[in-house]
Each structure stands twice: as structure tokens, then as C-alpha cells.
């Protein structure tokens, strides 16, 4: 049993409070991804769970046992450090076997596990090298290897794939997913990669400046972000935000939003809204079409920069004084200065009140 509970966990470095009374429940066997802007406290949270930092206030429980006073060694966690923390004097093989040897695993056992892990991580030929003879990505893989050979109850991964190339990254991602399936261990995973977060997570925890902004499944966060921060943070390129107005409130929670001279009706709770309130419209770059859409907004934009990635292009554009990013798939030769007419479906729109809180609750697509 390795469910993890954080109750009012607070961490201060000297006077600087970095984690502010965080509450979180992670179930046994869950794959949890922490995301958040740089410096928001992801690594710190992992280190608190691992017991490498003492928590200033609050309680951390693993498997329903209070861990506050339990040494890291006895928490049953393995961690991939953001900084790798490889043993510089040990070969790759020794780096991986060290923990197992110290816990008295049998020689064969160690050998098989290392062979397997190094194969998965494509480290077979590097087993006898010292860390300083490895490239950045190779070091990172050793760090992963060191954690996975242990097969503990809880895995903590701190940006484990950041230094790997795209192909390897996809590979590794799949390997980690399989490992999770096989071991049924609880995994906490910090990443900046949207794809990793969306594909691996059972549950995503969005952090901002030491607070939890939202916890939910990837689709929940994508479709129903609590607020503009989460909406902006989940999805890449980032969601576009444009100012709009409440032009009318009809009965039955029917609210009419005016934008660019167009008025569209949204079915949303209207209690706290009043006519004339400014609201924010959100459109994801991938939802913007190069054509007017029936039932939706449309407007003209000017392309500032066009980035062509092959299969898709990003158009960094302007609408009035607002920046807009648009994703266009397929080949095209659009470029700076082009003026395009774009449209977006009503169902793809997000809407936020003045404080940034979401106004729309979407029903998730489900089979």
C-alpha cells in the first residue's frame, strides 16, 4: 500500500516560504504528474515526500503511516534527481547495483535487473564507464536506471527525460508507462513536457508558486481548467485569451457574450454575473480554423511570425492589441504580414470571469 497523503504541508527555507500548506491525496498505484512553472515547488515537494528535506509544518503519510520522522531510507521510495546525483566514482553498473547490493539482493538478481534496465535505457555499452565519461542524456538515463532497478513502492521522477532526444523520449515514456503497469507502484512524475504529462498521468497536479491550482485527470484539466492559469498552462502552445463583455443575461443561465461585434449565447451559471461585466474568452491555438465557423466567433488576424514545423505551423499573430497563436496543420506558405480570417466554434470556447475563474463546465467526451 503506497497511497500518499499530504496534509497542510508547508516548507520554509529560512524565512522564505516555498510550499504553502499543500493538501493532496494520491492513491496507491496512481501515476501522478506534477506540472507548474519553473520554481513553483515541484522538486521541493518531491524532496519533502522522499524525506530529503524536513517539512516545516504539516504531515506526510505514505501507506497511511505518518512519515514525518521516518528516515528517507525507510520510506520505500526511489527518486530520479533533477540533477541526477550519480556517484562519480562508480561505473554505470555500480551506480545501478549499489542500492541493491547494500540491501543484500542476490548477485544474479542484480545482474538480471541491470541487464534488463540497461537494455531498455540503451546503456548496454556504457556499463563500465564512469559518469564523467557520459553525455548529459546518458547520465540522465543512468539516473533513471538506478531508480527503476530498485522496484520500490513509490517512484519519484524529477524531469527524468529532459535531456533526451525526441525519439528516445517517446521510447522512455512508453517504458515508464509499462513499468507502471507492471509494478503497480505509485509514481510521481515532474515534467515540463505537455505530451508526457497528458499521456502518462492518471492525475495531474498543477502547481503555482507553492500552491496547488488544480488536481484532475488530463482531460479534465484540458477541458475544464478551473481558471485561466491552468487553462494557460495545460496545452501548448498556450491558450489565447481575448477580452469580451457580458452583453445580456437571459433566463435559464443563458448568458450572451459579445466579442468583436458578435454575440453568442453560452449556457452558464449567471448568478454572479451582471450585464456589462468584462469576461475573458479563451481559444486554444489548435481550435482556431482558417475559416468562419457556423455557431462561433470569427475575426481577422495579422500574422507576425510564422513558424513552419513541417506537419504543422504556428502563426504568432495579432488581433487588435492581443497576441494570438494559431496552429495550422498541413503545408502552407503563410508568412509575416498576412491577414487571415479565422473562426472558432462556440463549443471550443473557454470563458473566464474577471477573477480568472472558469465559467463553463464542459461534459467530457467519453465512450
Amino acid at each position: 500500500m503506497a497511497n500518499i497523503t499530504l496534509k497542510n504541508v508547508t516548507k520554509r527555507f529560512d524565512k522564505l516560504e516555498t510550499i504553502h500548506s499543500v493538501n493532496l491525496e494520491l492513491c496507491d498505484g496512481e501515476f501522478v504528474v506534477f506540472v507548474g512553472p519553473s520554481g513553483c515547488g515541484k522538486s521541493t515537494l518531491l524532496r519533502l515526500i522522499a524525506g530529503l528535506e524536513e517539512i516545516t509544518e504539516g504531515v506526510i503519510e505514505i501507506g497511511d503511516k505518518n512519515m514525518n520522522n521516518i528516515a528517507p531510507a525507510n520510506r520505500g521510495v526511489a527518486m530520479v534527481f533533477q540533477s541526477y546525483a550519480l556517484y562519480p566514482h562508480m561505473s554505470v553498473r555500480e551506480n545501478m547495483s549499489f542500492g541493491m547490493e547494500m540491501r543484500g539482493e542476490s548477485k544474479e538478481n542484480i545482474h538480471t535487473r541491470i541487464t534488463k534496465a540497461s537494455h531498455i535505457l540503451q546503456l548496454d555499452e556504457l556499463l563500465d564507464r564512469k559518469p564523467r565519461q557520459l553525455s548529459g542524456g546518458q547520465r540522465q538515463r543512468v539516473a533513471i536506471g538506478r531508480a527503476i532497478v530498485r522496484e520500490p513502492d513509490v517512484f519519484l521522477f524529477d524531469e527524468p527525460l529532459s535531456n533526451l532526444d525526441a525519439e528516445l523520449r517517446v521510447d522512455m515514456r512508453i517504458q515508464i508507462a509499462q513499468l507502471h503497469k507492471k509494478l503497480k507502484a505509485t509514481m510521481i512524475y515532474v515534467t515540463h513536457d505537455q505530451v508526457e504529462a497528458m499521456t502518462l498521468a492518471d492525475k495531474i497536479v498543477v502547481l503555482r508558486a507553492g500552491h496547488i491550482e488544480q488536481v484532475g485527470s488530463p482531460m479534465e484539466l484540458y477541458h475544464n481548467p478551473n481558471n485561466m492559469f491552468v487553462a494557460g498552462f495545460i496545452g501548448s502552445p498556450k491558450m489565447n485569451f481575448l477580452p469580451a463583455l457580458i452583453s445580456d443575461i437571459e433566463a435559464d443561465n443563458s448568458v450572451i457574450v459579445a466579442f468583436n461585434g458578435q454575440k453568442i449565447l453560452f449556457k452558464i451559471q449567471s448568478d454572479k454575473l451582471s450585464i456589462g461585466d468584462p469576461v475573458t474568452l479563451g481559444f486554444r491555438p489548435e481550435h482556431i480554423h482558417l475559416a468562419k465557423q457556423e455557431d462561433g466567433f470569427h475575426f481577422d488576424i495579422t500574422v507576425d511570425v510564422a513558424e513552419h514545423l513541417g506537419g504543422i505551423s504556428y502563426l504568432y499573430s495579432r488581433f487588435e492589441n492581443n497576441n494570438m497563436t494559431i496552429e495550422v496543420s498541413g503545408e502552407n506558405v503563410l508568412t509575416s504580414g498576412d491577414v487571415l480570417s479565422v473562426g472558432i466554434k462556440q463549443s471550443d470556447c473557454y470563458l473566464f470571469d474577471q477573477a480568472g475563474k472558469t465559467l463553463i463546465e464542459r461534459v467530457l467526451p467519453n465512450r
Binding site: V77, M79, L86, Y87, G99, M102
Partner: protein
Amino acid sequence: MPFMSRKMKNSLFGYLFIFPALIGFLLFYAWPAGRAVGISFTDWNLLSEPYYVGLDNYVDMLEDDQFWNGLKLSAYYVLLNIPLQVMLGLFLAVAMDRLTKSLFVKAAILLPYLLSNVLVALVWLWMLDPILGIVNSLVSFFGLTPQAYLGDPDQALVSVAAINIWRHMGLCAMLFLAGLQTIPKYLYESASLEGVTEFQMFRKITLPLLRPVMVFVLVTSVTGSFQIFDTIAVTTAGGPLDSTRVIVYYIVQNAFSFYKMGYASAMSVTLCMIMLAYTLLQMHIMRASESDLN
């Protein structure tokens, strides 16, 4: 200066860096040492002119029982002294690093080293007095048999070693402690997550990464022990029954009591060679010039 190769430029910088030290070395070590080699081929009683005797001093030395005895005693002393001193020093250093950061402990451990060799010897001479000393009265208090310590030929050298361990243990600890600071803390974090015990961390992380400092401590403490003089001069003067007449004591005796500077120089040169050989071997075996941290 593009006409200079990188290596040459480095050499320029290198010599600039070592310049002051090199002057000191040449003036106060190299020159006297070279002179000593010269003197070792002469008969010189300090006061009158030396005269050349070729290898006589070295031949005499090989036939001199006292010389061999001195070497043997020195080696024995090193064996008594070093393992314990280094191990205790290491333990203290690790304890100070991992157990307590208390400044008091640190200062207390180094206190014995604050006293000069001679003083330490005098204090222990007093405390180890078989009849009037506090050590024997403690020994009796615990129901053990009082010993003669420095007066007993079988115990004298051991006692001297104990005195020096007492004084130098803190020094060793300081050196190691400085070395421990270079070991990144995250290695211990990482190891602790792997369920590695404190002792295993010590063996598998601390010890190997301490290697550069370890070589240093081994080399300096072994060669330092080989040169033990003050303590013996104060406590036993080479006695009882020559049981503490270690090589350097014998050399000094020859130089300043017997006025046989040529002979003393020959022995010094030989001793120096022995220590140098040991040092080179030790540094080579322990890869003294490499650090695993790089």
C-alpha cells in the same frame, strides 16, 4: 602572444604561480638537502673543516646496529601510530560531519594539537608517572594493574605512540573534515533513498571520495611519524634500554651530541630516500593526483 603554444603559455603561468614557493623551496630545502648529501660523504664534526671520506659513512651505517635498530623502531612506531591515529581521526571527522556540527566538539577535538609537542610530552610524562601519575591511580581505581609505561622497555614506544595519537587525532580529524566538505551532499541523499546504511555510505561513498585527502594524510602522517623526535627527547631520551631510540633520535644524537654530522647526514639522506620511496608508492597506488569528483 600567438607564437606561444598553449603548453608554453601554461608553463609561464605555472612558474609565475609557484615562483614565491619555489624560491622558498630552493633556499630552505633544496640547498640544505643538497649540502647534506655532500656532507654525507665527509667526516664533519660541525666545528672544524669537513674532510672527504667517500662512502665510508654509508658503509659504517650499514654495519651499525643502532642504525638498523633505529629504523626498525621507527617502522614499528609508524605501525603503532598510524592505523589508530588515522582511524580515530576519520571517525571523529565523520562524526563531526554527520553527527553534530557543534563548534565545541570541533574545538575540543583540536585542543591537544594546540599544545606543542614538547608540552604534550611533558604533560603525559607527568600523568604517566607510574607512582605519582594520575593514570595509574585511575587504573588502580578500576581494579587493573598499574603499569610502568614510559619506563618499561616493552611499553615505552607504545606509550609514546599513544601520546602522539592523543595529540594528532584531532589534527587528522580536521584534515579529513576539510576533505569531507568536498563530497557533495546529494550523494548521501541519493544513497539514503536507496536504503543504504550510514556505515555503508561511509565505506562506499565517503572513503572512496576522500581518497585525495586520504593519501595526503597517510603520506604526511607516516613521514611525520618517521620523524618523531621531540616527544621521545622529553619522555624517554631514547631509553629505557634503547627501546625508543628511533632513527631520527639517533640522527640528532649523532649530529648534536656526538658531533658526527657527516654520519648524521648519511643517515638523513637514507631516511629521506626511504620515505620518498614510500611516498611515491603510496601516491601512485592511491592515484593521488586524480579526484573522482572530476
